[in-house]
């Protein structure tokens, strides 16, 4: 089953992506555009996504460290600590 799955993934990759590319390429000729603006705008959008993701991850880590510190009044001992195993 696993082999069939992997094989189908490979075939899908080898056929679907080129087919989609061909479908796009088959369109009529392209229009004039400001290459510089398109590329830089894409870059800034990607940077926005990257910084948002970075901020969320960093924020989550800070929150975890703050929330689960030993001195937090809400902290509960883990089951292991309760049993005195650690």
């Amino acid at each position: 089953m696993s082999k069939v799955f992997h094989l189908s993934i490979i075939i899908a990759t080898l056929t679907i992506i080129p087919m989609v590319s061909l479908a796009f390429a088959a369109e009529t000729a392209g229009e004039y555009l400001d290459r510089k603006a398109e590329i830089w705008n894409l870059f800034f959008r990607m940077m926005t996504v990257a910084f948002v993701v970075g901020g969320v991850i960093a924020g989550t880590m800070v929150w975890q460290v703050w929330r689960f510190r030993e001195s937090n009044p809400k902290a509960k001992p883990t089951p292991y600590e309760e049993k005195g195993e650690l």
């Binding site: 000729a29 392209g30 290459r35 510089k36 830089w40 990607m46 996504v49």
Partner: protein, 140 residues
Amino acid sequence: MGHSNWPEWIYVAVVVALLCYVGAEAWNIENLVEHVPEDAEVIKVTGQQWFWSFEHEDGTKEIGELHLKKDHAYKFEITSKDVNHNFNIHEYVVLLDAVPGQINTVWFSPNEAGEFDIQCREYCGLIHYNMRALLIVEDV
């Protein structure tokens, strides 16, 4: 110990959604940027140690200088005679390898008249640093 894992699934969904967005955006822009207009003039660009030469559609040849018209589309067919070079017009975000025995294409449309630098961006030997040319965009 049983526990709720819905936050994990939300996390996974957000990551998948972001990846889809990033991929789709990049795909879309790449298609737009690579889509050559029908009336684009083909210019053959040849890199060799250590200068650039250009050939227009009408057979006009230029060395170290390239004269183009503002608001026209140009498709560069880039190749090299010796080693790998890289054709770069910094101001217009044109950047493509010049490889011997291979023709790479890129198109652009200058929307500003003036003089712009063309330079090699792949280390190609002793005088790589000075492998430059001048792009002159004329307001016709």
